[in-house]
Symmetry: C2
DNA sequence: CATTATGGGTTCCAAAATAGAACCTGTCAA
DNA sequence: TTGACAGGTTCTATTTTGGAACCCATAATG
């Protein structure tokens, strides 16, 4: 299978990764959360080639994660800003930070700490069940077929042989 | 900058993505959480070429996310299983699922639903502050320099010009 | 016993993606 | 007038990838 076809799977992970699951894209989004907004700022921060950056920014705009906004009419200069869809990626980045801080950071400690302005404290975001508030651990979750698959099966659009459950 | 150099940054995201931030790797990890364990099962599920798969599995074993365990002495057959380091990636996958369910799934609804065995309910994992239990939203978090950078600066190992804050 | 299937790869080649450098274009500041 | 800057595009050499073919040990089949 070609990488471009992976988003044909009925799988939210595959479809999401089709957008940001390649080299550089998630780092660009990380920078966007740090208020990096201009082409040259991204380039300096990432050390990515202009060509790659141009391509990645265009894709991110096309997929609705960034929006391109003119900030200088005369010189037609643009900024790239996160949309609501992009801002919603925050928990993804946060969970990557958490994992990285635990498993791949050196002995000095984590490079960045986070303050939750709602409560004023330094916080370590964690993932919890929205029903019982218990922390989510892999072994406590049991996946099962959801409506997105069930309805396709009942219409005959889909059978398990086609791909992922 | 070459992709192989990105993990030289003092940034947990960059270092984490150096391991799983490329095409296929996170999908392999997804499958591992679905109890896919053998080479041929991964291949069938992903449609990836054997060559790629072999390379990615080796990297994942080298970086301690999967372990290779013999299950048939005579034929020297191996299974790949998540280590503790790998199992800890669950919140990353979960936050990708959440985002994908919200933004890139079709109208039938989400393909998979999750039951939290601790409480027995279908759940939608969410990210919260570990101090006040408030849900984490991008605009409520203020990052600041952490010990991992502060100590390097005080030792003279690092200056902001070198890379990321 | 010869043949074929299976799991888990490796080797080879052509096609696609990438890095790095050079170039372009329009404005502005000295 | 010259140069700098932002924001690109074009070019080429190198890597990475996809696809197919091949390999090897065991096991099942005829």
């Amino acid at each position: 299978m070609r990488w471009e076809e992976i988003d044909s799977q009925v799988c939210s992970i595959a479809r999401a990764l089709a957008i940001f699951g390649d080299r550089w894209t998630l780092l660009i989004i990380r920078d966007a959360f740090r208020r990096v907004r201009r082409f040259s700022e991204f380039q300096k921060s990432l050390g990515i080639t202009k060509h790659r950056l141009s391509d990645r920014l265009t894709r991110l705009v096309d997929s609705g994660i960034l929006e391109k906004r003119m900030y200088d009419e005369k010189r037609s200069r643009y900024e790239y800003r996160l949309t609501a869809k992009g801002l919603d990626l925050y928990p993804v980045l946060m969970s990557v930070v958490n994992w990285g801080d635990k498993w791949v950071c050196d002995e000095d400690g984590s490079p960045v700490v986070f303050t939750h302005t709602q409560c004023g404290h330094t916080c370590h975001p964690k993932m919890v069940c929205d029903v019982c508030d218990g922390e989510i651990v892999a072994t406590d979750i049991e996946p099962s077929v959801g409506p997105g698959v069930a309805q396709k099966v009942s219409r005959g659009d889909w059978s398990p042989a086609m791909g992922e459950s």
